[in-house]
Point group: C2
Chain length 222, copies 2
């Protein structure tokens, strides 16, 4: 087979960059996606930094990205990519569908959000949509977002301020209040007060519930 494969892809199909930290999972998607004959996966990456590099060198039409990656949040990768190319199309492919996470993703510049619980057809359709420059999300994500736009729900984390979020994250990550205070140059007392406030605002009664909330909202990388 001697084909000039890299030529004039734009006119023919959709080139894709896959970002996910699990090789098997990644390869799985790759096969699912390449089964569509107008799709071609031109690169893969397993972390935020490599994703950025791969984007620079391949300039794919669509980036399909799992944002729950180790280390730096995938949100950062989205921001980096968009900073370099404001027309970049990024489709987030996540385990969770917390309203806060979805909003954060779109806020960072994502064009779509599909959960891993969706049917393959939904993912494929979403990729075509974002490639066309539209926004896309899977049904379950839409439902969550719709629900929370109806109700002034303040879905748990949204009502927290910057500082509160940061303290909650460190707390959920396992840090002591003293450590958090030291990290942020605060008095222990202040951190204690934040802790109290966070519990009050989120309605969580137990520290354990707080940790679970943080994990579920993608605040803490489990």
């Amino acid at each position: 087979m001697t084909t000039a494969k890299m030529t004039a892809v734009k006119t023919r199909g959709i080139s894709i960059l896959l970002v996910d930290d699990h090789p098997v999972v990644r390869q799985g998607y790759r096969r699912v996606l390449e089964h569509q004959d107008d799709f071609s996966v031109v690169a893969e990456a397993d972390n935020a930094a490599n994703a950025y590099r791969a984007f620079k060198s391949h300039g794919p039409d669509v980036v399909v990205m799992d944002i729950s990656m180790p280390g730096a949040s995938g949100l950062e990768a989205i921001r980096n990519i968009r900073a370099r190319d404001p027309d970049a199309r990024i489709l987030v492919f996540s385990m969770h569908s917390e309203a806060a996470q979805v909003k954060a993703a779109f806020g960072a510049g994502a064009s779509g959000f599909v959960t891993k619980g969706s049917e393959p057809a939904e993912l494929i359709a979403a990729i075509r949509s974002v490639a066309r420059g539209e926004h896309a999300m899977s049904d379950d994500v839409a439902r969550v977002l719709a629900l929370e736009s109806l109700v002034p729900t303040k879905s748990a984390l949204d009502q927290l301020g910057e500082r509160e979020i940061e303290i909650l994250r460190q707390f959920a990550a396992g840090s002591t209040k003293e450590q958090i205070a030291a990290n942020l140059n605060l008095s222990t007392k202040t951190v204690q007060n934040y802790h109290y406030l966070i519990k009050a605002k989120t309605g969580m009664r137990t520290d354990a519930q707080l940790v679970r909330l943080a994990v579920e909202c993608g605040l803490a990388n489990l």
Copy 2:
């Protein structure tokens, strides 16, 4: 369930039942696996109950199962399947590689344990191994297990008694100490003492660390 059937299958290929609660992920694996021409995925299931039903009706050579499924633990599914057919080959395919979880899986009757962070080749090799009746695990799992067999570490949860485990689970699930005491017909004081003991035994300093430990060990369904 006759031996005659087994030999017939052996000459042809390896039939596989896929169990994972994420359709896209599942379909991804399916393609990866079916790319091997002696593999054939004969059924899929998205939860423990369906896995058991599918096993009964298809009698696959190997079950490839993600044990971090919603609701009842996948461990239960393993036990159910093995209870019906002690020769069943089950390969666990998990996100995590906590020693406790690996042990629990093998204890429940799994024949292999591969993490989702492994290369596809490792998964494929592992499937062939368990199909042959051998035990298999990916390199990272082996390393974790080896490490913990060398060190008298008693990886976190193993050193806890029945009662301690139960209290830890309820605690991680978000229950108050009073609620736990009420559930188990204990005094609050006793639960407090257990809580203290558990932290001491596991070496966790923070409640948050404790919760994470419990979640990572599959004690609490996130």
